[in-house]
Each structure stands twice: as structure tokens, then as C-alpha cells.
């Protein structure tokens, strides 16, 4: 208690009392992120307003030998933005300024607390947007996106966050401020930006980001294809990719999700089908018609019962609202759900979807699907009752079995949510001890004290046992 009091006193002297949260009631909201299953209490939350302040906070935490980590909007789904070993959360919400938009260089310079969608809203009228579009984009921050290498439906064509970051200012774990990359594409020496993006906030705290701006496409078309079986829908996805067509987005939504969406959002999804594909193509006017025809043929070959195009921008927006807010709608039809972020090679899509559903059945649970299918990022959603301990355990078991299967099929543990605290115990499915040691060598080199965001990603040395597993609440979040 003595140490904690001194820490808070020092933080308050750095920032003033109004920017240090330490009352237990006020700290409750920071106990979890979008993964509500496990909760970890922080000792304090601080609200810096500049890179220099972040640096001083970091030095203060190191001086007190307490863990610390950065947090954006807390929309992450892997328990990455929680104080797994206690300590200080550096909350970036007061560093939320779009510092500069430069269309000549086609970049924007932003603080990490900028909400993803706000940047696209600011630039779209001028013919540009920020391409990574996670479904949480109305709420999530670009700093958080950098930490988790966030994706989104349109990353199929445009790539994930890593493909859109040119430079960063980072406060290192010892408080040193380092600039990496820049306003152009040069990679001189090792690609530090590439390494830091997706490192889940374990190598440094990003305080300024230079992002690429992408020109808006000349035109786009959005289609809804309906299928009587999930298998037919997933076979269509595999065939579209195999034909060398790269849509801007290719999303698979199954009946359970459709029902939830139509009950609560009325997006215009057909209700008497097993699955739909939401397909968007973008590019030159001259190329879209032929591409659309090819996609339509593939869907019909696989037994699509309907294939229709969104006729207007409001209709398109409504379909996308149905997709992006689907997870919220699902929360209204099940006491709780658990989301899985496994990825498979795209040709394995039919196989893994069948496996998911069977595994759910075997464990007595329903599994819904809201897949970034074109990426092979399957997002099975396991429905369960959080008041029922047996079901909660079955949900965890189902998720682990699905992840193991993804790895067996040549896939990966996470497409866009990260490992966080959530998948520590699954890490070894994909990586052996040598692979892990290589990553940990990188971490030790850049964060020797290990105080920055500990007990994340790597099972070795993680203190999972200290997590306060509480009765869970209905899960929120976006996919």
C-alpha cells in the first residue's frame, strides 16, 4: 500500500489530480476491454496530453517498478488493454487530435486516441479515406488499431493496418522518445514500424502516427447473395478467390446472425436462408460489370438462391450497418457470446465452418458465424449462458478446439484481435518454444524490465493465475 500511495502521489504531481484516476469505483470500467470474461484491476489510470507526458509517466512507473500499458477505447477482444498484473493504465483519450492532413504527401498525422472513423470522415469529402475499417471503427482508436494490427471487412483488398502506417513516434519502455519511419516509404535499416504494428502494446507506447491516406475508388458495387446451406456460401467464397477475383469485401453471415440482425436492425437481410454473402467490389467503372458477372456466376454455380445488388447508397449503407452492428444485435438474443478470431487458408473455409458447428453441437452450444470470409478470418461466435458455469466452460473448450483446428489446417490463432491475455494458453498451438523465444528476445531487447504490458502474448512467464475470473457479463464488442 505504501508503494501504491507514493506512485499515485508522483503521478498526481506530474499530471495534476484531475488526470489521475485511482478511486476503486472509477477504476472498475478499466477492468476489462471487449473481452469481458476476465478482469484485472489497475492501480491507477492516467490521462496524458502529450508525448512528453507519456514519457514522464513511463519513467515514473519504471521508478516505482510497477507495470504499465496504453489503452485506447477498450474495444479490443483479446484482453490486451487490461492491467493483467495491476499497475498503471495510460489512457490515450486526451491525445485524440488529427494533427495534420496532407493530400500532397497523401498522409495524415494523428494522435493515437483519434477514432478510426473520424479520420475517414474528415478526408472522404476530399476524395480520400483511411482504409483499415474494423467494425468497431465508430469507437476504436487508431493507436489501438496499431497495437493490434486491426483489420476490417475492406482489408481484403486494401490490407491491414500494417500496410497503412508509414511512421510513428514511440515512447519506449525506458521513457526515451523515438521516431521511426516517416512521411515516405523508405525502409532504412530494420523495419521498426512493421515490427511495432501488431506488437500489442508490448514494445512501446505510440504517441503519434503517420498514416497513408487512400484515394476513394471511382465506383463500387455491393451485392447480397443468399444460400440454403453454409457450405454453398463458403464454397462460393473459395471459388471467388480461386478465380483470382479480389473483392473489396467478402463477408459471410449465417442464419443465427441474420435473425438477430433482422430482429433488431432491419438491415434487409433475407430471413429464410442458411447464409448470405455480402460482397463489395471497388475500382474502375469499366471493370466492375465484368467482375460482378463473374461473381454472380460463381454464386449461382454453388446454388445461390438469390443474388441482388444494392440499388442505392442508403440501401448499401443499410446492408453494411447490418454487418457492422451485427454483433450488437446478437447480444440481444443470447445471454452471452464468445468470439473466436481464428484464420484458415481460404480454401479450407468450408471445412472449418462445418467443424465449428459440429464442435459447438458436441459441446452443447450453438455457433454463429460472422466471417471476413475472403480473408479466411472465420469469427465463429459461440453462444452460451454466462450464468451457467458448465456452459461457460464449454464455450471456452469449443473456442480452443476451433483454434487448434485452424492451426491444423495451416492457419493462425488470430486474424485481427491479437493474442492478448485471451489466447496465452493457445499460443503453443502455433509456435514452438524456439519461435516464442525469438519473439521474446525481441521483447527483452526493447523492453528489458518487462514492465510494459506484461502477461500478454507470450505464455512463458505470464501470470495468468492472477486474473480475476468473475462471473461474466453478456459480451459486447465488434467483429
Amino acid at each position: 500500500m505504501e508503494v501504491k500511495t507514493a506512485l499515485i502521489r508522483d503521478l498526481e504531481s506530474l499530471l495534476g489530480k484531475e488526470r489521475v484516476i485511482s478511486h476503486p469505483t472509477e477504476l472498475l470500467v478499466y477492468e476489462c476491454d471487449g473481452l469481458t470474461l476476465s478482469r484485472h484491476g489497475a492501480d491507477a489510470v492516467v490521462l496524458p496530453e502529450s508525448t512528453e507526458e507519456v514519457s514522464r509517466i513511463v519513467k515514473c512507473c519504471q521508478g516505482h517498478q510497477v507495470p504499465f500499458l496504453a489503452r485506447g477505447s477498450g474495444t479490443g477482444l483479446s484482453g490486451g488493454a487490461v492491467a493483467a498484473e495491476g499497475g498503471v493504465i495510460v489512457q490515450m483519450s486526451r491525445m485524440a487530435t488529427i494533427i495534420e492532413i496532407d493530400y500532397d504527401d497523401e498522409v495524415a498525422v494523428v494522435q493515437p486516441g483519434v477514432i478510426n472513423l473520424h479520420l475517414s470522415e474528415a478526408t472522404r469529402p476530399d476524395g480520400y479515406h483511411y482504409a483499415p475499417d474494423p467494425s468497431s471503427q465508430k469507437a476504436c482508436t487508431i493507436g489501438g488499431n496499431v497495437a493490434e494490427n486491426a483489420g476490417g471487412p475492406h482489408t481484403l483488398k486494401y490490407g491491414v493496418t500494417a500496410n497503412h502506417i508509414l511512421g510513428m513516434t514511440v515512447v519506449m519502455p525506458d521513457g526515451e522518445i523515438i521516431n521511426m519511419g516517416g512521411r515516405h516509404e523508405s525502409i532504412l535499416g530494420y523495419d521498426l514500424v512493421g515490427l511495432f504494428v501488431g506488437s500489442e502494446g508490448t514494445l512501446g507506447i505510440v504517441t503519434e502516427i503517420i498514416v497513408k491516406l487512400t484515394r476513394n475508388p471511382e465506383s463500387s458495387k455491393t451485392f447480397l447473395a443468399s444460400f440454403n446451406t453454409v457450405e454453398a456460401a463458403s464454397n462460393s467464397v473459395s471459388s471467388i478467390i480461386a478465380a483470382g477475383i479480389i473483392p473489396a469485401a467478402l463477408e459471410l453471415i449465417d442464419a443465427l446472425v441474420i435473425q438477430a440482425v433482422e430482429s433488431h436492425l432491419k438491415a434487409g437481410f433475407p430471413q429464410d436462408v442458411a447464409a448470405i454473402l455480402l460482397i463489395e467490389i471497388e475500382g474502375l467503372n469499366a471493370t466492375l460489370s465484368a467482375q460482378a458477372g463473374e461473381i454472380r456466376n460463381i454464386c449461382h454455380t454453388h446454388g445461390a438462391t438469390d443474388f441482388k445488388e444494392a440499388k442505392s447508397e442508403p440501401e448499401r449503407a443499410q446492408l453494411w450497418r447490418g454487418r457492422k452492428e451485427a454483433i450488437g444485435a446478437l447480444g440481444k438474443v443470447t445471454p452471452a457470446f464468445y468470439t473466436n478470431d481464428g484464420v484458415v487458408p481460404r480454401s479450407k473455409l468450408p471445412e472449418i465452418l462445418e467443424f465449428d458447428i459440429e464442435t459447438g453441437k458436441r459441446n452443447g452450444l450453438q455457433v454463429a458465424h460472422l466471417c471476413h470470409a475472403g480473408d479466411g478470418n472465420i469469427h465463429p461466435i459461440i453462444l452460451y449462458d454466462h450464468e451457467n458455469e458448465t456452459e461457460t466452460k464449454a464455450a471456452m473448450k469449443t473456442s480452443r478446439e476451433i483454434l487448434q483446428r485452424c492451426i491444423d489446417l495451416g492457419g493462425a490463432l488470430s486474424g485481427e484481435h491479437g493474442i492478448g491475455t485471451e489466447k496465452l494458453t493457445s499460443f503453443s498451438f502455433m509456435f514452438n518454444k524456439t519461435d516464442e523465444a525469438q519473439m521474446m528476445a525481441v521483447r527483452s531487447a526493447l523492453s528489458p524490465s518487462g514492465k510494459l504490458n506484461p502477461s500478454k502474448i507470450f505464455p512463458t512467464g505470464a501470470k495468468c493465475g492472477e486474473s480475476k475470473i468473475r462471473k461474466t457479463v453478456a459480451g459486447g464488442g465488434w467483429l
Binding site: 519506449m172 523508405s186 530494420y190 515490427l195 480461386a242 469499366a286 480454401s347 493474442i419 499460443f427 526493447l446
Partner: protein
Amino acid sequence: MTNNHPSNTLATETIKPVTTDDLARIIREAAEQKRTVIAVGGGTHLFTAGKQFDLAIDTTGLTDGFHHTPADMTATVPAGMRLSHAQEKLSHNGQWIPLDPPDRGNATVGGVIAANRWGPRRHHYGTAKDWVIATTIVNGKGEIVRAGANVVKNVSGYDLNKLYIGSRGTVGIITDLSFKLSPLPAVRSTFRACYSTPEEALTTAAVIRSAPLEPESLLITKGRWTTLKAKHWWLLVELAGSEEGVTAQKETLSTTLEGSSANRWNEANNKDAAYYWETVRFGNGEASPLFGIAEISFPKSQAECLLALLIKSYPKLSLKLLPARGLAIVEIEEETDRSLFVNEITKIGGSIEFDCVEINSPSHRWPVEPAGISLMKKLKTALDPSGIFAPGTYVGGI
């Protein structure tokens, strides 16, 4: 021991392993004995800082394990395989790794990635950073380490692939790579327009970028990367894609070029197109031997400023420039004042790498150290604790 391989003159011993396990054993022994190691693929872009090493690894024996899954649009390619060979195999199913570095057929896939090489089509496809999805390497302890997976989206552990791309064999030796692939375009078409001034070429490039066009390549060239007698600045545009897409784009592009200040422009026939791109990649055959080049990257908005600076100091400038990527390659002559050159590039916020015959120290090759060099040195030590991989050959003396 291998014959006629570029590695033979670099070290007291050359070994050509044929499996990753062999390589790991060799590196373990080298680490124990603290013998320095240089990995050499095709030797097409090697920089040794004039050093001799204890051991050269000829990676061209690492050719097993090619695996292409067309339905996933991914492939795993052994590091010692020639890029040209890999592309040929992938083309059987209408796909390719969309990287086009200057290559007479010798460059290995591992070497291209270790040196992060690129060509004119970078305009559209970006770099290896956008296409490599998994790697196997042997690290400085002689351990075989895997990163990534054969999926196109992945945030499982650190993305060490990014660290290996462009690391020039200083943190590990790549033994295989997996790529996201691109469909081979059904049709390609090249246009050339000739301008009296670079400003005119840049203006037209900007118009093209704003038009409903998606060129595969868009670059401006001058001097040795045009024909010997050419007085003009060339703007080269390559369209690619489906038949109907390219046909529609040809019309738009023709209108754009016709409305520009081009002295002349044409859609190249196949023979001319091949000649233009050959010249862009390798220089025209009649030009004097190349002393060296500077590879410059800069904020895109500075292209005009950069050209003005360069022309002022070097009226006989030879250059190729990718305006949409903020990249230029400029000829360096023996008498070029490189420090003046560096000052000019630094003024516009650019970075620079010299590749000249006489350069044999990292500080001359990379005269301005990048921000974050201290972190890079820590990473080098972490992954190559005995310091055996090509020590003192990379930026900052890494």
C-alpha cells in the same frame, strides 16, 4: 564448396547447404566458434563493405519445398530458388509474386527479400512488406525459427517477417518464404509520352493519378534509362488487368496524354514495350558503364523540388522516378559531390542509399542513419548474439 558462385571470393570457406537443418547445424558451429558468416543468393545486390568473412553460405542449394496453393492465392518458396523460376512455376496457374526487381534471372527469392528489392511495378503493388506472410529463418544461434502462417491476415505474435525483410542477412538467414500472390493480368499495355521538362512529366503523372486509371507502373525516366539520344523526359505508363478494363483505360489514358504537353506519345507495340522496360531496369546498352546510383525516398510532394535541385547541380542527370511512391534512382558519377547530394536530399526530408563501385563502408553507403538506429542495434544483438552475421555491413555499422 561451389564453383563460380559469387560467394567464393568472399570467405575462406564456402558451404552450400541443401536443407534448413544442414544450415542450422552449420550456423550453430559457426556461432560456437565465432566465425563470421555471409549469406549469398544470386549475388545480385550484395554489399559486403569490402570485408572478408570466415564462412560464406551459398543459399542456392536451398531449393526444396516449393508449394503453390492456387485456390488460396498463396505459395511457399524456398529461399534459394531463383525468383524467375518461382514466377515461371506460379504462372502455370495464372499467379505471381508481384515483385519485379531488375533481375537477369539469377536473383534468388531469399536475396530479393533480404535486400527488399523492387522494380517499376512497385507503383501499384508496393513492396515485399505487402506480400510476405511467413518466413523460416536460421537465427544467430543456429535455431530454426518460423514466423507468420500461410494466411493473408494474421496477428499472432510479433510480425517478425517485417524485421527480416530488408535486413540483408544480418539477423538471420532466410530459408523459405510464403507469399500472398496476385493474379497475373490477362493483358498489359505500355504507353510512352515524351516531355521537354520534368515539370510537364510530373504534371501529367498527377493528372493520370486523379483520372479513372489504375496503372500497374507509372514512372518518369531520363538519361541512361531512356534511349541514348533521347533528349526528353519519358513518362512510362503500364496498364494491366482484364481485356475490357485495359481497353477502357487505354481510351482514358490516350485522351489524357493527348491533352498534355507531350511532344509525342504512343502506345508501344510489344517489341518497343519490352525495350522500354528493359532499358528502365538495366539502362540502355550503349550508355557508358555505370559508376553508381543513389536510391532516394522522399515525401511525394517534394518530387518537383527534388528534380529542380538535382537538375541545377547535375544538368546531365540520369534518373528514374516513381512519383506516386516518392522514390527515385539517380545516377552517381565519379565526380559527383556526394556530401552536397546528401545535404540536398536531407533538405526535402528524404533518405538515401548509395550503391557505387568504390563504396566499401556502411557510413558511405547509408550516410544518414535512420531514426531508431539504437533500437536496430539492440535487435541485431538479440537475434545474432555472437555477432556472426555479416557484421559491419549494414546501416549504422550493424
